[in-house]
């Protein structure tokens, strides 16, 4: 299995994001907890990356520091050569918890980040992204009137509407039922192919990672290190019963130290 090589399947080779020596130590009540231990990662432009690891391993922390919400204890993150100093509308974080604003309608949520645009352009984008995520007919609905899957799609639409070049998704489908989750994966891939964003997607679900990603970054338990980077060289749409898929998936199962038997 190839190690940290540039992807052959992805469309670009330009480095979009570079994380160098990211370490994170949390101090609470005088106790120090090391969460990330000198993580190095390059993400290429237009790539779909999955950060995969057991719950609580620190992959969300890594995503939060890449996104600029948490300053790492040491190390630095650069995007397009610029150091990351805080959150930025050019890269939108889709939150694990439902991050849509309950006091705004579907339209209001999608328009949230568009306050600098003229009225016409705003209306055009709202209409476009409502359609892209399949929420037509719900423009005036409030989030509490939507299902979990619809809320998650709304949050993705709100993120895409500001035309970011990166999306950070933190276990976005974790709270959904398994059928909705499968549908949402398909939707996300469709949107990714249409919009050509660079995506970093955190998950603890091996199948999910292998279905979605160009490369799966397998992380160890805390303090998290990158254990291995697995390139998923299967074109989309992926046949999830093909030998190659099963080989890659089982390789990751072994890598994580799980006997692949229930």
């Amino acid at each position: 299995m190839s190690q940290t090589t540039a992807p052959t399947t992805a469309r670009a080779v330009k480095t979009k994001l570079r994380a160098e020596g990211i370490s994170m130590i949390f101090r609470r009540d005088g106790k120090e907890t090391s969460v990330l231990d000198s993580v190095d990662l390059d993400v290429y432009d237009g790539e779909f990356i999955c950060l995969l690891g057991p719950s609580g391993c620190g992959k969300s922390t890594l995503l939060n520091s890449i996104a600029g919400f948490l300053a790492p204890t040491s190390g630095k993150v650069t995007i397009d050569g610029e150091p990351v100093t805080g959150p930025d509308p050019r890269r939108i974080f889709v939150f694990q918890e439902r991050g849509v604003f309950p006091w705004l309608t579907v339209e209001g949520n999608i328009a949230f980040g568009l306050f600098k645009l003229p009225q016409e352009e705003r209306a055009r984008r709202i209409a476009y992204y409502v359609k892209l995520v399949g929420l037509q007919g719900f423009e005036k609905a409030y989030p509490q009137e939507l299902s979990g899957g619809m809320k998650q799609r709304l949050e993705v639409a709100r993120a895409l509407a500001v035309n970011p070049d990166m999306l950070f998704l933190d276990e976005p489908f974790g709270a959904l039922d398994s059928i909705t989750r499968l549908i949402m994966r398909g939707e996300l891939l469709r949107i990714w192919e249409a919009e050509k964003k660079t995506i970093i997607f955190v998950t603890h679900d091996i199948e999910e990672a292998v279905q979605l990603a160009d490369r799966v970054v397998v992380m160890s338990a805390r303090p998290a290190k990158i254990q291995q980077i697995v390139e998923i060289d299967i074109p989309h749409p992926r046949d999830i019963s093909s030998p190659r898929y099963l080989e890659l998936r089982d390789g990751i199962f072994e890598q994580i130290g799980l006997a692949h038997k229930v």
């Binding site: 919400f69 974080f93 939150f95 991050g99 949230f112 980040g113 500001v162």
Partner: protein, 252 residues
């Protein structure tokens, strides 16, 4: 069916009035005026022009005291809640003042403002100020971090976050706090008027007793206080039906 369900509480009130009337008419030492006498007292108050005047006087004091408290306490509470250090510094002080009944301030308010409207308004203000401050503090504290982070992610300035995230996120809880506090203010105005002024529904009750044990007027005053309190609460509750605020209330 629906109409019958709606009428049920009124039918029950009517039944109680009849029971009240029967109970009073069957015994001689009048512990309470009967409902007809209370009705007569309403008519008498209306004819003397006092009913309207006293209601307006009480509402005037509550409105001013409550509004002054709202416009000062809510921004203060939001600010304290936003700056966690301020909250830690001020919380003990707030907790010391909180158990002091606003009625305990009556002597001091008379000392400062004399007998009159200002003293009563000051008492309403005091009664409303701390509950509203605490409501606003807690409302800010309970905003999920994800909303603030999303606001920052979309490039909002601090003012933008306050106006477009903080404020809408706290409104539902503020409305609950305002509603509860208005109830408290209405309780306090009656007590304040018994001592600090010469008009209003609270004054009516004390005055009717002192000036010849007119218990029909006393009960009429009590009924009026109850009805207006109910209307104030219904008015505040109507805010909870606004669609963009519904998320803040558990479905009932």
């Amino acid at each position: 069916m629906n109409l019958l369900v709606r009428l049920r509480p009124w039918a029950f009130i009517a039944l109680l009035l009849v029971a009240w009337h029967v109970a009073i008419s069957r015994q001689s030492n009048h512990l309470l005026p009967d409902p007809l006498a209370v009705g007569g007292a309403f008519v008498e108050l209306a004819q003397r022009g006092l009913l309207f005047k006293y209601i307006v006087a009480s509402l005037f004091r509550v409105t001013w005291g409550f509004l002054l408290a709202a416009v000062t306490a809510i921004p203060l509470g939001l600010a304290i809640g936003w700056f966690r250090r301020a909250e830690m510094a001020l919380n003990p002080l707030i907790q010391i003042f909180r158990p002091i009944s606003p009625l305990a301030w009556i002597p001091i308010s008379i000392l400062w403002f004399g007998v009159g409207d200002v003293a009563a308004i000051f008492l309403i203000f005091l009664a409303s100020f701390l509950p509203l401050t605490l409501t606003a503090m807690n409302a800010v504290g309970s905003i999920p971090a994800v909303y603030i982070n999303a606001g920052r992610n979309f490039g909002l300035s601090t003012a933008g976050i306050v106006w477009r995230v903080l404020y809408p996120a706290v409104v539902p809880q503020l409305i609950i706090g305002l509603r509860i506090t208005l109830g408290i203010a209405w309780l306090v105005v009656v007590a304040a008027e018994m001592i600090a002024v010469n008009s209003g529904l609270g004054f009516l009750i004390v005055d009717a007793r002192n000036a010849g044990n007119r218990y029909d007027l006393v009960v009429a005053g009590m009924v009026m206080i109850g009805l207006i309190g109910l209307l104030l609460d219904v008015g505040m509750r109507s805010f909870e039906k606004i669609r963009s605020l519904r998320w803040g209330y558990s479905e009932d």
